[in-house]
């Protein structure tokens, strides 16, 4: 069988399975929702200042939605950066690029396989966090109806469907973060610098969002797109933020991935 993108992708996943950092990220994605639910159950209070915060004792379906908002500050960008920021630079660390690039796969195939693996990991991590948060939330607060941001009450099954759809919309900025992590990983050739750089980039955009006088920029900041899913929980559905999130996230992700690909294709493999 001829080797190609799929071969690289499969082996990148197998390499991720063999590495501890993968479990560190996935472990955090699963543990944080559980800790959050324990805090909710034992503490008794609720975070009124965030959307759905006031309903966390009424329905478990509010838990994943609150977690999406809290997680967007640094948790989910960090989990995403853990792998995206490492996926190319780990080859520099292990000096293995010279080995894989002299086999029978082209550079662009290696890059595509790595990009797909980083994206897969990010999707799996967010889905895991969502599933654990929903499960733990339902156990703690029950599988009850949800009050939308418009004040309409929807049934629990309908609410569950919307939680799933919200997770999918949430993937857009997460994948953009993964693209930026991939770029830093390719350019810096150092996992630590790439992971910290990706997280800093995400935090910087949040800082811009709270600076006075820059409100005109808000709709185009990546950090704003972490709230786009809220459009699904309005009646009727507000598609504007979701559609804007599609192209704004693409505006961040596509140039980052293209630049990373160009650097990867053109670089001299001289040190590793």
């Amino acid at each position: 069988m001829k080797a190609g993108v799929l071969t690289v992708y499969r082996w990148e996943l197998r390499k991720l399975i063999a590495q501890r950092r993968t479990y560190l990220g996935l472990g955090a994605a699963a543990a944080v929702p559980i800790m959050f639910v324990i805090a909710v159950v034992t503490g008794g209070g609720h975070p009124d200042e965030v959307a759905f915060g006031r309903y966390i004792h009424d329905t478990g379906l509010a838990i994943p939605l609150v977690l999406l908002l809290f997680g967007s500050i640094w948790l989910f960008p960090l989990i995403t950066a853990l792998v995206a920021g490492d996926i190319v630079s780990s080859e520099d660390r292990n000096a293995t690029l010279k080995m894989i690039l002299t086999r029978s796969v082209e550079r662009h195939q290696v890059f595509a396989g790595k990009a797909l693996a980083a994206a897969t990991y990010a999707v799996v991590a967010i889905m895991l966090a969502g599933v654990v948060a929903t499960g733990a939330g339902v156990l703690a607060s029950g599988f009850n109806s949800v009050t939308t941001l418009s004040g309409t009450v929807i049934s629990a099954p309908h609410g569950l469907l919307l939680v799933g759809a919200s997770l999918l919309v949430y993937m857009l900025p997460i994948l953009a973060i993964a693209g930026i992590g991939l770029l830093f990983s390719t350019v810096f050739r150092n996992s630590g610098a790439a992971i910290v750089g990706t997280l800093m980039f995400s935090l910087l955009l949040q800082l811009v969002a709270i600076l006075p006088g820059l409100s005109g920029l808000h709709p185009y900041l990546l950090s704003t797109q972490f709230s786009a899913w809220q459009g699904l929980l309005r009646t009727p559905t507000d598609w504007d933020p979701i559609l804007r999130s599609v192209w704004v996230c693409a505006l961040y992700a596509v140039p980052a991935v293209l630049a990373a690909g160009l650097v990867f294709l053109r670089r001299d493999v001289a040190e590793s």
């Binding site: 010279k98 029978s104 796969v105 082209e106 001299d268």
Partner: protein, 320 residues
């Protein structure tokens, strides 16, 4: 007749002001065990990286079996090897690493993993993670990963570096064995004895340029024969030598005497007569084939270093 395994023309690699490889021409023929010899920092590894398509030449061309490795890895079909030390994913086993490389080759290499592990004597440790391997084991795993490709051409960069004497012997035996199986080998090394033991042809590089390319026999012939001379009066002997037709490169030997080069025995016979007539009769006149090590030093570090080495050899051989 097909294109040669390696054909390099006018190859240059420049990093800013630094010229790492300077106008290298090289042809490795089918069946050669070709020594690419030079001191550390001479540009050998950079050349090999360009041959494998890992870095772009500033100028010039590389053809591997007639194809350009810069255009596609397809040019490396039937080619294997490694630059500097072979590397692996330390968190995976030796076998898993070979499975990965075999998958990236896309052929039937996966079915030969046991066989190549047997060849390099690593079958018993194949399940262990590579991070627990010694340097020698990693070198052998590197050869195994190369053999997975059933190569017609192997490029090996200093494969014995860092190995203990037994490891070096085993590695050289393995390379010799691969050569006998008909695999063309380009062996980069800074060790003349290693190249002398294994290779039929050689290129000697100095500061990024090829100082010699040809067979080892031609290199030996080029080295010529030098003579060690002791007389009753070395200062008279030196004047006579320098005045004598056909006597060249006269220099002092240690701890006493002279050495010189001569194109043939007739010139040496004439010198012997001239010395006797000049009242500096000969005590010792010994021909000596220059070692390839001396020629290597002469080509890579200049005449002075080669003369130093010859003088040191004189000192060891001199009668007490």
């Amino acid at each position: 007749m097909g294109a040669p395994p390696i054909e390099v023309r006018g190859l240059v690699k420049q990093y800013g002001e630094i010229v790492a490889v300077n106008d290298v021409d090289l042809t490795v023929e089918q069946g050669d065990i070709f020594g690419y010899l030079g001191p550390n920092g001479a540009g050998k590894t950079t050349s090999l990286r360009m041959m494998l398509g890992l870095i772009r030449p500033t100028a010039g061309s590389v053809r591997i079996f007639g194809r350009d490795p810069q255009v596609s890895v397809g040019a490396l079909e039937g080619v294997a090897g490694f630059v500097e030390a072979p590397t692996f994913y330390p968190y995976m086993s030796g076998r898993a690493n070979l499975e990965l490389y075999a998958a990236f080759d896309g052929g039937d290499g996966a079915g030969r993993i046991d066989q190549v592990l047997e060849t390099v004597d690593l079958r018993d440790r194949a399940k262990d993670k590579v991070k627990g391997y010694s340097h020698g084991m990693r070198q052998r795993l590197g050869i195994a990963s190369a053999l997975l490709r059933s190569p017609r051409l192997l490029l090996l960069d200093e494969p014995t570096t860092g190995l203990d004497p037994a490891g070096m012997r085993d590695m050289r035996e393995l390379i010799r064995d691969l050569g006998e199986r008909g695999i063309t080998v380009l062996l980069s090394s800074h060790l003349m004895p290693e190249v002398e033991e294994l290779c039929n042809r050689v290129a000697i590089v100095r500061s990024g340029s090829v100082a010699y390319e040809g067979s080892l026999d031609e290199l030996r012939a080029r080295a010529g024969i030098s003579y060690r001379l002791r007389t009753t009066d070395d200062s008279i002997a030196r004047r006579v030598c320098e005045a004598q037709a056909g006597i060249e490169d006269v220099a002092e030997a240690r701890p006493s005497g002279l050495h010189f080069k001569a194109p043939g025995e007739a010139a040496v016979a004439s010198l012997s007569l001239a010395l006797a007539e000049s009242r500096a009769p000969v005590i010792e006149l010994t021909p000596r084939q220059a070692s390839l090590e001396q020629v290597f030093l002469q080509l890579t570090e200049g005449e002075d270093r080669a003369a130093e080495m010859a003088a040191a050899a004189d000192e060891i051989e001199a009668p007490a």
